[in-house]
């Protein structure tokens, strides 16, 4: 399938997909800024690289993935998940401490809670990122 590419104001790539109501050359002239180009979508980054769309950059007729932007995207995804996981473990720890019925129980809950929160980034969900 043919699509139209152009660079946006913020430096990202925009991909315009025609519906078929108009020929693609008319869509290019009507819907896209000057300098936009028609390419086959099979030439666009595939697989894992497609998930870094916000790191795509257009050079000539080639789309590349900006490594630094991709790193920032991955880091943001990791941090968001890590914070979410740590918060859930923190709440579990607080509940355990509140339910403690003795000093020993309290200490054990606290120790287990610390270990749980410290290992939050080793969950399968985060390792998969």
């Amino acid at each position: 399938m043919q699509v139209i590419l152009h660079t946006t104001q913020n430096g990202n790539v925009a991909v315009t997909v025609p519906t078929g109501e108009l020929p693609i050359n008319e869509v290019l002239a009507k819907d896209c800024p000057s300098g936009a180009i028609i390419v086959d979508d099979s030439t666009l980054p595939q697989g894992a690289d497609s998930s870094f769309f916000d790191a795509w950059e257009l050079s000539g007729s080639t789309v590349t993935v900006n490594f630094e932007k991709a790193k920032a995207i991955k880091l943001a995804q990791f941090n968001a998940k890590a914070v979410q996981e740590a918060q859930a473990r923190q709440l579990n720890t607080l509940a355990s401490i509140e339910n403690a019925v003795s000093d020993a129980d309290f200490t054990a809950s606290l120790t287990a809670g610390r270990a749980s929160i410290a290992s939050a980034t080793t969950t399968a969900e985060l390792v998969a990122i």
Binding site: I4, N12, T19, E21, S50
Partner: protein, 132 residues
């Protein structure tokens, strides 16, 4: 064959009638149903839409085949959840990476965000209709 029917009301066989204003101003002048995914959209069906531009995660631009007379049209949108299972909502005239885009006679920016966090996201399905 081209032709024009002039009438103030329309009526069905059972005698139910409505003002032509309802037919003219109450029907969508453009609509689109698409599946966004990173880097592209899959168009399922549309009317009076020449293309959809994927400009970033959760951010799209609908381009009309025939322009509206002005930019005062109304839109209604719906979205499915995203791949994380989060409920998404659709809005127009959105800001993408601090770049604000207002609807024009020929294009309407559309954004999808997670309802609980307001973070841009790609739902499985986005549907938008435009009225004037």
């Amino acid at each position: 064959m081209a032709g024009t029917i002039v009438a103030d009301t329309i009526q069905d066989g059972a005698g139910n009638s409505t003002s032509m204003d309802n037919a003219i101003y109450g029907s969508a002048k453009a609509w689109v149903n698409f599946n966004p995914s990173a880097g592209s959209v899959t168009l399922n069906a549309s009317y009076n839409v020449s293309s959809v531009t994927y400009s970033g995660t959760g951010y799209y631009v609908v381009n009309f085949t025939n322009a509206f007379a002005d930019n005062k049209y109304a839109s209604a949108g719906a979205a499915s959840p995203d791949s994380g299972g989060y409920t998404c909502v659709v809005g127009t005239n959105e800001t993408n990476n601090a770049v604000y885009s207002a609807q024009t006679t020929t294009t309407c920016p559309v954004a999808a965000v997670r309802s609980y966090s307001n973070v841009l996201s790609n739902p499985y399905v986005v549907c938008v209709a435009f009225y004037r």
